[in-house]
Symmetry: D2
Subunit: 346 residues, 4 copies
Amino acid sequence: MTSSAPMQLGMVGLGRMGANLVRRLMRDGHRCVVYDVNPAAISELAAEGATGAATLEEFVAKLDGPRAIWLMLPAAIVDSTLDALVPLLSSGDTVIDGGNSYYRDDITRAQKLAESGLHYVDCGTSGGVWGLDRGYCLMIGGETDVVAHLDPIFKTIAPGIGTAEPTPSRPADAGGTAPEGYLHCGPNGAGHFVKMVHNGVEYGMMAAIAEGLSIIKHANVGQPDRDNKEVDAETTPLRDPWAYQYDINVGEVAEVWRRGSVVGSWLVDLIADAFAASPALDQFSGRVSDSGEGRWTVLAAVDEGIPAPVITTALYERFQSRQLGEFTDQICSAMRSEFGGHAEKK
Amino acid sequence: MTSSAPMQLGMVGLGRMGANLVRRLMRDGHRCVVYDVNPAAISELAAEGATGAATLEEFVAKLDGPRAIWLMLPAAIVDSTLDALVPLLSSGDTVIDGGNSYYRDDITRAQKLAESGLHYVDCGTSGGVWGLDRGYCLMIGGETDVVAHLDPIFKTIAPGIGTAEPTPSRPADAGGTAPEGYLHCGPNGAGHFVKMVHNGVEYGMMAAIAEGLSIIKHANVGQPDRDNKEVDAETTPLRDPWAYQYDINVGEVAEVWRRGSVVGSWLVDLIADAFAASPALDQFSGRVSDSGEGRWTVLAAVDEGIPAPVITTALYERFQSRQLGEFTDQICSAMRSEFGGHAEKK
Amino acid sequence: MTSSAPMQLGMVGLGRMGANLVRRLMRDGHRCVVYDVNPAAISELAAEGATGAATLEEFVAKLDGPRAIWLMLPAAIVDSTLDALVPLLSSGDTVIDGGNSYYRDDITRAQKLAESGLHYVDCGTSGGVWGLDRGYCLMIGGETDVVAHLDPIFKTIAPGIGTAEPTPSRPADAGGTAPEGYLHCGPNGAGHFVKMVHNGVEYGMMAAIAEGLSIIKHANVGQPDRDNKEVDAETTPLRDPWAYQYDINVGEVAEVWRRGSVVGSWLVDLIADAFAASPALDQFSGRVSDSGEGRWTVLAAVDEGIPAPVITTALYERFQSRQLGEFTDQICSAMRSEFGGHAEKK
Amino acid sequence: MTSSAPMQLGMVGLGRMGANLVRRLMRDGHRCVVYDVNPAAISELAAEGATGAATLEEFVAKLDGPRAIWLMLPAAIVDSTLDALVPLLSSGDTVIDGGNSYYRDDITRAQKLAESGLHYVDCGTSGGVWGLDRGYCLMIGGETDVVAHLDPIFKTIAPGIGTAEPTPSRPADAGGTAPEGYLHCGPNGAGHFVKMVHNGVEYGMMAAIAEGLSIIKHANVGQPDRDNKEVDAETTPLRDPWAYQYDINVGEVAEVWRRGSVVGSWLVDLIADAFAASPALDQFSGRVSDSGEGRWTVLAAVDEGIPAPVITTALYERFQSRQLGEFTDQICSAMRSEFGGHAEKK
């Protein structure tokens, strides 16, 4: 993880992700100018070697031209930040949106910034709270020469080629940056498009793992003393209780799947860790949020006419975890009551 | 609804379905001997013209041979009832299971009864609480001559040909009883197999209607004063609130769909009625039961290797309405917490 | 089906739907001026009593003000038709879009027409090729007084209250037009919104019925002589072949479900007819089109955050019927080949 | 990967999996007696140091008592092999089924073998063709002391603790073998139960990845020269073609996701390799087999009443890839033809 050419980068937004990007960049010799609406976040990084700026004006003034400015902000405030920032910039400067913007906004923004001679790069950033040490997977959209110019920055942020075994069938001379963990995916929006779908895939993988572990957890439903909410006259009894007598430790199952299995994955690593920390997961009520990318992935699938039933089902499973299907369920209960006189079970 | 040949039928099980079957049969001139564990149920029907029997022995004694006995019982007590009943019967008698037995049990039972010279008929009965006046749709499995012998019974119970317009492409001389509303589907188990799948289809249709009405109900999510549980920093904001400003009366939508639309159906009739009786459906919490047939339909689809994603999804939607996916959801929340430091939203 | 106040209506678009609307209106005493790009379509209706117009200009001229003009056109040409038509109209005129426009286009168009003092009504029209006799279910969006003014037109086109039994719980004095088969759903776009979701529901119901009949059709997979494409070393053998020995006539099943069953519906009526006409359905290869509304329904569900897994699954099932998931499947085969050395089965 | 106590193991079934297990065991100092119906497979391993046996009798004779015999066979021939093998064994011997048997068969077999004083261990083995070097993840069911006795065997076959980073929250003194990559899950059947669900999870993860890459592949559907099979009058046109103009290299996307991303997983490693070897994957037609475990996982979910929509959807997606939904689709087309006069598009 050593880049040949140290650069200067300005970072706007010093939340966990932004701050850790700065740290990872400084570790590798890059110089960072940092700004946040929260002065304490600036002081903290200044103490670690960054150049703090108290205002956007000061921030811009401290950056050498042509400037490279990375925004690490909630998607909802990117546009207002750009409104304040753009008038301070000069032709040839580049703004990188490293957050989770909708890729269509990238296309619009890039066109607008181009009118002022500014460049725009969208960069989907995956890695979560572990990225400082593990590196971040970067999915990048923008003009080819602009992205190439920023290569030392991306190379530092990405995990690096040594963090996974080489892909056997990949020719040694295949080139490209993908084995480093960053990829120029195409013109503006392409980076966030790929990151969006990445998150859709993440939803599907998470749901598959979670459903499986849940099926294993409930492998004891045939036990006579099982506290079964569902045993009553209206529910069909389990026909083969003898086949569901297992008390299996799902945390240990997650741990064993980490090595040598086909489902081995970082998500399995993480859930093994969660079970190790909290075997019953009882600090979680099971309300699973979704933060946009999953929804957009489904919209893209439908627009493209490509079936995406697994990803979509995983999204809806999250909606249902938050009781958003309640009216649908009430209607079904009402129909059952109408045709069969079935009262709801409590 | 007039059968040419009045018959005698014994009915065991005088719950709502069993009692109404007896009434419908007596209205059409058939004679009924009735038995139930609840003496009041016997008295009530005796007062309407049925012959009551206080014990199974008396019940069997009052039936002319070869006997025809209809069981209208919860699936869970059919076998124990047969254990008590069969020793009292004579070779050539027929037992009809009109409840919701699993079709595989029909195959087993028929084989067992045959050893005593008894006949067994499985009869899936659809129509719910409305069947007394509307007639019941019957899906029948059993030996051809045995089913044929019972034809007057089935003909009376079924709705009759006049209850729907003729199928235009069906030849006038096509014959068969399907246009009357009853069908001999095949050997033992075939009746309950078709009824089982019927209920699976029912699950899917119900879910489709319910989901659609729910989408219409929530066509107002773009309104600024909408009490939106989901508006906060982590959730992506609605991009086009102007497109979700409608307050649509879903009860009236159900009513209008009853006439002339492609989705016109008895289920739409019923949900229109439910909304007319209770516009907010607030007596229903949305816990939707499933009573076996939907599960068995999925098992059959998987065994056959036939994709049934809609029916299966509808079944799982019912499971989720009863929070049976809670552990799955906790696992997903735990993974989100691990990789992104996301706390659950309350 | 008698309206108290005959009106004049102009119809643009004389395909099957437009022509039959005109016929149904004329039968009830309304006067129609008709236009189409195809002169033969005009002549045919003129011979039946309509007033033909050879050009849009002539069409507009023959209509009394304030004009009421119904467009029955493919969604893709509504805007270009409006571009030609609007300049010919006068303030106070009303244009009704009776086709399958996206409801968001209705909102835009209504705003644009309002600038010229024109009114716009969106009217989702269900009923297909059967509507001439059966009536059409109408879901209407627009200004209240404008929709009210057109009431005699809608009343004639709709099936009428006598075409279904009254909803039992609906108070006799409930009022409203829904029991006639037409409904003013809300402001502009609300009509097509409800029609859009109606079609989404239709997709789900169709899929549920089709999956169920397919499971019944394949209830013979346990037969030893079954031509089973799937029997080979890699596929798990059926564990209970004895339970899948049924040859069930699915056309007769569809027919029997038409009367008294919970799944009774117009769609079941139609598939019974299709089987009566063609027992093997062999003129159909199984490529199921989708025409927009299903996709838009899914987009709305995702935007609203309402789970719609059954409707969405039905949409994807159509995509898959057209092999649009082929690349997805190739990727899965490639992964299987990588980890297990599994060659694809032919 | 060094076991403290070398053991002797007999292996029946020298396909790729069985042969590689023997090699991995011998590398670690264990002695193996090998048998297969194919003499060449025996000779090959004998040349590498194993003791070959030409018949089952010879095989049994060459094993020291109490014997440990591993079966690595297609599930369909396990029972017939046991029928031949069991009479040759002595009380106290143990048979391990390392293949993909249905866990219910394990329960039955264990009971039957116990009658002869024999022990039975079920061992789900994941790792595919890569396991020789990478190790195999083992999910084990059986009596505690019997499984403990075989520990050196399992320890050698499993990947070993060093093949993944430690789980941070797992206490150093947690103990257990899961971090080595093998786990005693519970009594007989528990091993194959966990392996079965593992494969269900695998189906879901594969489908999520494949769907996502397919959505990325088709991010160019808005390009005017795109060879779009779907452009015609009946299909709704893409509303935002400008948003689907990307030509993204999906192979490079898979490669970049291997490092630092949330979806990082062995399956992503494998598909990156597949794309590196064959960028268009054109040797795959997309007929995705399923080999039993996915089906059984769905049956278990339904029996337990646990929603598993993602795993089930992935299974049905495989069915659909093999055109098993064809009749369902024909029925949908037939309904569309009935109500709308829609001919199928070719």
